[in-house]
């Protein structure tokens, strides 16, 4: 087990306009589960492959357990990777797949056998040890890929979207299994996903990347509560946070005909703000601004209302997403009165950065 750190790590692909990864600084603690998340092309997979040594580091350094591994071969780094398509060796049985690294390292046969059996027990793979990958289901293959990593007892696990080839139900189940397994083994893990739900539920800390630049690196709770910029605010949370461009007039902004007083610190610094309100932070019924409901998305416990603010009867108002109780949600085409809870508002400058 070991810590992992990026120090100004940069990767430029030949011919690309901007670096795939730009001066990344990231400290991953010993035994920590860190998720790299972001839209495609944000540099998350590149970062992972740089730890593995599969990608060149054009500038900066990478350390594993304090040791500078920037120029080391992948096999000198003692890391194991779970690939998105699993990359199991098709001509080997499950047991041979799992024991292959140990065999290459000339581990005594009895020990290989014992370690493969241990991992198989952990992952419920004992009945399949003599099968070839083509005779396994998607979930089983995924577990073999995990097993192949576990058997090696590496310093670091690297996982590149390991759940993206599973169906929705299996994905949730496997998500929990991986998180539990990691806590049990306490092996430093770097996990890449584009799915913010996976990021929030699995990681001790989450690094949000965009266009090769680190946006925020924090615990899931902090990402949710205090996103540092508009991008993180919109990316974390589902449905996404409502982000409204509003002018500040008389120390307040108005949502339709509903006035929201703006804290002095915000009002002093800008004439216009981006106001962020999560769908779950509206009070429905009673006072507030009127919203026309276009779509109702019923999820059982909750319902999400997609609609437009209507100060008068015109249909050009701000779009909003609002969470309502799933028991008796408003109808489509109807109108609801609502106001945001002022203790949960986010203020961003027009440059996208968080003010408060």
């Amino acid at each position: 087990m070991a810590s992992v750190s990026f120090e100004q790590a940069t990767r430029r692909y030949p011919g690309a306009a901007r670096p795939a990864l730009d001066c990344l600084d990231l400290q991953i603690g010993d035994g920590e589960f860190v998720v790299l998340v972001g839209p495609s092309g944000c540099g998350k997979t590149t970062s992972l492959r740089m730890i593995a040594g599969l990608e060149t580091v054009d500038a900066g350094r990478i350390r594993i357990g304090g040791r500078d591994v920037t120029g080391d071969d992948p096999k000198e780094r003692d890391v194991a990777m779970v690939f998105q398509n699993y990359a199991l060796y098709p001509h080997m049985t499950v047991a041979q797949n799992m024991g292959f690294a140990l065999k290459i390292a000339k581990t005594p046969r009895a020990e290989v056998r014992a370690r493969v059996l241990d991992a198989a027990r952990l992952l419920d793979l004992q009945p399949y040890l003599d099968r070839k990958p083509k005779d396994l289901s998607g979930g089983q293959r995924q577990r073999v890929a995990m097993g192949r990593a576990i058997v090696r007892r590496p310093q670091v696990f690297l996982m590149d979207e390991p759940l993206s080839n599973l169906d929705a139900k299996l994905r949730v189940q496997t998500r929990n299994q991986i998180a539990a397994l990691q806590r049990r083994l306490a092996t430093t893990t770097v996990y890449v996903t584009h799915d913010q739900v996976e990021a929030m539920t699995m990681g001790d800390r989450v690094a949000v990347l965009r266009d090769g630049v680190l946006q925020q690196y924090a615990s899931p709770r902090e990402l949710y509560r205090e996103p540092v910029n508009v991008f993180v605010a919109g990316f974390i949370g589902s449905p996404a946070m409502n982000l409204l461009n509003l002018p500040i007039i008389d120390h307040s902004v108005s949502l339709g005909d509903w006035q929201i007083p703006v804290p002095r610190r915000v009002a002093d610094s800008a004439a216009e703000v981006v106001l962020g309100i999560r769908p779950e932070h509206f009070e429905l019924g009673g006072r507030g601004v009127e919203m026309h409901v276009d779509v109702v998305e019923e999820l059982g416990a909750d319902a999400y209302l997609y609609g437009r603010i209507c100060p008068s009867d015109d249909m050009t108002g701000q779009s909003l997403v609002v969470r309502a109780d799933g028991g008796d949600p408003p109808r489509r085409g109807g109108r609801v009165r609502l106001h945001p809870r002022t203790d949960h508002l986010h203020y961003f400058g027009t440059d996208g950065r968080r003010i408060l």
Binding site: K75, L88, Y89, H91
Partner: protein, 278 residues
């Protein structure tokens, strides 16, 4: 109306089959003709019948009497075996390098190498002969084995195309599992390119087996000659003994038929996977 559609379909299938049978007949006829001729009497060869009146199996016995058949068979097997093994080994290594190992000028080098396909064999025969004479290998088995040992542009191209169809993650997983490039090639990738190896092996074997020009230039002694040379010498010494010649041709053909029958399945798969099929 449905009946008419079915009838039209059957008609089309019938025409296609007829055409295929015609083409197959064109391909098979010379072989059938040689087979028939190998069993005829000498004065019967010119007669346009497919079935000999009185099959003369003695023609085959005479082949063995007139030429050192088994010696030449052994020579040809050794030459074909060595060259095939060398081709498979070196072409697959070069193909792996051109497909997977990043190095400066890789694509340029590959195109240049492919360019050698344009040079006809007849152009290189004389320079190669001079080379062989310089190293003193003319009229030795070395001349038959060494020049073909180190691979060809075609074989390398075939292997490269196959290696490119394998997912990169397979190799990366192996690298992370601690494999050296050699181990990646040998333990992970090679088991997956067996069909390509079969194709290359069969093509190379057939090439060496049927080669006439190079042995003719290189070899003088019967003891190290190939079957194709033996066949020609048979012709030269005993002019117009057509039935014996055809019997010898048939005997030379047998190993190729056996090899193709054994390798057929993976051969077809290999051709299909490489995208060379029509």
């Amino acid at each position: 109306m449905g009946e008419r559609v079915i009838k039209a379909g059957m008609l089309r299938a019938g025409v296609v089959y007829l055409a295929l049978i015609g083409i197959a007949w064109c391909a098979l006829f010379p072989i059938l003709w040689a087979l028939s001729g190998s069993l005829k009497k000498e004065n019967e060869v010119g007669v346009p019948t497919l079935l000999p009146a009185h099959p003369q199996w003695s023609n085959y016995r005479e082949v063995f009497a007139l030429m050192p058949f088994w010696r030449m068979f052994f020579n040809t097997v050794v030459y074909a075996g060595c060259v095939t093994a060398g081709q498979v080994f070196f072409c697959s290594l070069a193909g792996y390098a051109f497909a997977r190992l990043p190095f400066r000028g890789r694509e340029t080098l590959f195109v240049l190498y492919l360019g050698t396909l344009m040079v006809p064999l007849t152009v290189t025969v004389i320079p190669q002969f001079i080379l062989m004479r310089l190293v003193g290998w003319t009229d030795t088995p070395w001349a038959m084995i060494v020049p073909g040992l180190f691979g060809t542009a075609f074989g390398t191209y075939l292997m490269r195309q196959f290696f490119r169809t394998l997912p990169a993650e397979l190799e990366e997983a192996a690298i992370l599992d601690g494999c050296s490039p050699w181990q990646v090639y040998w333990r992970i990738l090679l088991p997956h390119i067996r069909p390509a190896i079969m194709v290359l092996a069969v093509l190379t074997w057939v090439n060496v087996w049927n080669d006439f020009l190079w042995p003719l230039v290189m070899i003088e002694h019967k003891s190290i000659a190939t079957l194709t040379l033996g066949l020609v010498w048979l012709q030269g010494e005993y002019v117009a003994r057509w039935p014996v010649l055809m019997a010898a041709s048939m005997l030379i053909l047998v190993p190729l038929v056996i090899i193709y029958a054994v390798a057929q399945r993976s051969f077809v798969r290999g051709i299909a996977m490489s995208g060379f099929g029509g």
